[in-house]
Symmetry: C2
Subunit: 459 residues, 2 copies
């Protein structure tokens, strides 16, 4: 089977069907009994940006659309639901024949987006739209969170130059929240501009570059470090990266150089995984240069994130490759995104009715929406959230993704990665430094005059 950038990974469509909160089924039960299954529109959006985030990078759409297209309740699920004595036969029969038949419009992966902007709109018979809630929030929310973190790291490692991020690789699988997270983190990191992953499952599924050579346990398995390096280069005659910090780091660099010379194998580079990365990278660079190994790269890893990388880059630390794990895979400084999925309109017969919510802290503006983005000199200048039928200047962000249950959007890694590159390059420069100053001027996102006057707006 060939790699496929939109492979759903470890979750299959019958599992996805049951990744539903019970309330979606109790509500569906009631809607079906009452014949309330006319079209409704739900929008997925982020209420507020999390701490330490000034923008988001949309991700997760591709694999999620695949799951939705094939979503099925299997016999085990149907028997289980019937056994609960909580739902009517009508619901169970309905789920037995469930196929998503509606439309989805979405902001494509790799697009910068902001709080309040619908990332996705589902327009479908009410029950179909309702049943997708948990799956969409779980998959799109999490992947957008991680792609955003990855994009920040990529920008930091490129010294702010967009798209230079092939020098960041994903080392996170051991700290990711489970197996689905591990493959989706690698995918999200790749679309944001990372250059590889240590995760073999993700590399196979998505066609990513697999990276990684040795752990400390390898070095410890031999009599001494030099013996370990010699064994490794003998067994892997392609240029390789040696891990030098098991004992004394700079002695490790000397051993790597000596083994490379003695064995006649070109040293691709060395990796530092602990200690003062600034000082050690300078020391390692000197030793490598003195040995004539100017092409040998210095890789760094160990609790790295964008602020630390920015400081090292600004200090001029000669680090060529960044292995980023825990901080990337868990988005540690902002591990949750306040994504919600809200009913915004429904209809009986031909007429759409806008549906909003006026409660104090959690208002929702009713009506189906589009987001329009203006650019000035290739820099993002401001977004307007408007009603679907309003005509606004700029580029509309939501595009058709599913029509009548069938995918009409299916993008490749290359397409999404190129979009990310352009989008990150179009971010105002004040939003590309880490950490952002406390008083950084936020990106302007406005409501159209019609929306601003709507109930729930501005709360």
């Amino acid at each position: 089977m060939a790699a496929d950038f939109n492979d759903p990974g470890v979750i299959d469509p019958t599992e996805a069907a049951m990744l539903v909160d019970q309330y979606e089924l109790t509500m569906a039960d009631s809607y079906l009994r009452r014949g309330m299954n006319d079209e409704a529109a739900f929008e997925l959006f982020v209420r507020n940006l999390p701490p330490n985030r000034e923008w988001l990078l949309a991700a997760g759409l591709g694999p999620t659309l695949r799951l939705i297209e094939d979503l099925r309740f299997d016999r085990r699920a149907l028997d289980y639901l019937a056994s609960l004595d909580r739902f009517g036969d009508e619901l169970v029969d309905y789920l037995a024949g469930f196929r998503f038949s509606g439309d989805i419009d979405a902001i494509p992966e790799g697009t910068i987006c902001y709080a309040g902007e619908p990332l996705l709109r589902v327009t479908a018979p009410r029950v179909e739209a309702q049943i997708l809630e948990t799956l969409l929030l779980n998959q799109i929310g999490f992947q957008t969170l991680v792609a955003t973190k990855a994009a920040r790291v990529v920008l930091a490692a490129g010294d702010g130059a967009p798209g230079a991020g092939g020098n960041v690789v994903d080392f996170s699988p051991r700290r990711d929240h489970g197996a689905d997270a591990a493959v989706k983190v690698a995918r999200s990191a790749a679309l944001a501009g990372c250059g590889g992953t240590s995760n073999m499952l993700a590399a196979m599924l998505y066609g990513l570059r697999p990276v990684g050579t040795m752990a400390h346990s390898y070095v410890l398995s031999f009599a001494d470090e030099e013996a370990a390096f010699r064994a490794f280069v003998e067994d892997h005659p392609r240029p390789t990266i040696l891990l030098v910090d098991t004992y004394d780091t700079l002695d490790g660099v000397r051993n790597a150089i000596a083994v490379s010379e003695a064995e006649g194998v070109r040293l691709a580079g060395i990796r530092l995984d602990s200690g003062d990365l600034d000082a050690l990278s300078r020391g390692a660079r000197e030793l490598l240069d003195a040995a004539g190994l100017r092409d040998a790269q210095i890789a760094a890893s160990g609790d790295l994130e964008e602020d630390h990388i920015c400081r090292l880059v600004a200090a001029g630390a000669p680090i060529d490759l960044w292995g980023v794990g825990t901080e990337l895979g868990t988005s540690r400084d902002a591990p949750a995104l306040g994504v919600v999925y809200k009913l915004v309109a429904d209809r009986s017969g031909e007429r759409w009715r806008r549906v909003g919510k006026r409660s104090e802290a959690k208002a929702t503006i009713g009506g189906r929406k589009q987001v329009w983005r203006r650019y000035r000199d290739r820099e993002m200048a401001g977004d307007v959230i408007a009603r679907l039928d309003e005509d606004v200047e700029g580029e509309p962000l939501l595009v058709p993704a599913v029509r009548g249950g069938e995918r009409v959007l299916d993008e490749s890694l290359e397409q999404v990665r190129e979009r990310s590159r352009i989008q990150l390059g179009a971010l105002p420069s004040r939003l590309r430094s880490f950490p952002a100053p406390d008083d950084v001027e936020p990106y302007p996102v406005e409501l159209s005059p019609e929306l601003a006057a709507a109930p729930g707006a501005g709360v």
Copy 2:
């Protein structure tokens, strides 16, 4: 298929086999070429507790052991690895016949544990032990993280009384990091003492109590709140919980009471999802009591975590049920656990050699270990980490889990939940208040005299 508390969930054993960092395979390649496949011992432990944590609750072992027992590299994986032109044929042939044949000793799920203590030890041919690294760290680390968070919430909601946690339910699937996380969060929460989950997939797989009735979108789908409540109780004649905060919360309570009286259906309770939960729960309680509905429960949800719950409980807010989502499922205040998996011993022939690492920040004490726990008046009094062959006073925490590749430990939800209840009850009371005082005396974990004298100790 019946529910099974140790079901691996959405990940299957062929996916688990490839959830490996590339370096494990490059190292395995080298070990095989060199005939270095004698027995080795690796231990999994947490280097340091994360911020805001004074202890951990072990979790994740059951489903992980199932995966290990059935771990297989399938044709697709083997073809992929061969296609990379990076590994020798010997490795690919070896992986084609891979079966885990070794031993695993582990601290059982639901046991309180601390930094530095091995949660698990794998003793197996070096290559087998090495290949499990990423899977073990990804699954055990994450589930231990979440079970710990859940246990904190359970203790908070029970006013510190251990095991009263049936009043906490998992509402997290929409914010969890992917589908594997969602089912494992529900499982980890249940073993820590939570009383149910909104996640239907997890409820089906693990035999948990599914919970949830309605979202705001249901109420918004009707002409007004009273019409929505009437429809819901008509369609769900069992006592139900109505969500009352779509418009004005206390008016919502009045509507719930009126509908329950008019329809002659007992109101199980009401749910508050926004606003000042202390004031609103008191207002709701008064209205319910005045209507003679003293049995109707008050459920609260919305960004709840242990500190907030402790404050509400201390203030006397009359809340009976707690729906906890984002904070539980992402362990938001500590979303990563510094779990590592380190070679600690290997042997050639009959003799074991201890393997440790002396690097500055990341030392590892060599040798296979056991943890011994002493109790005083049923309260945990202190742990000692010792060499495997030392005789220490107390109860040993690691027990046989796998022998010769076959599971010898397979516990039920009831067993693990009961252990958690007892363990949480045995925690010193100073470690059961949230937030912990800054100067809280940590739980005493000592090294045995023999270990304390070992290289790498005390660093």
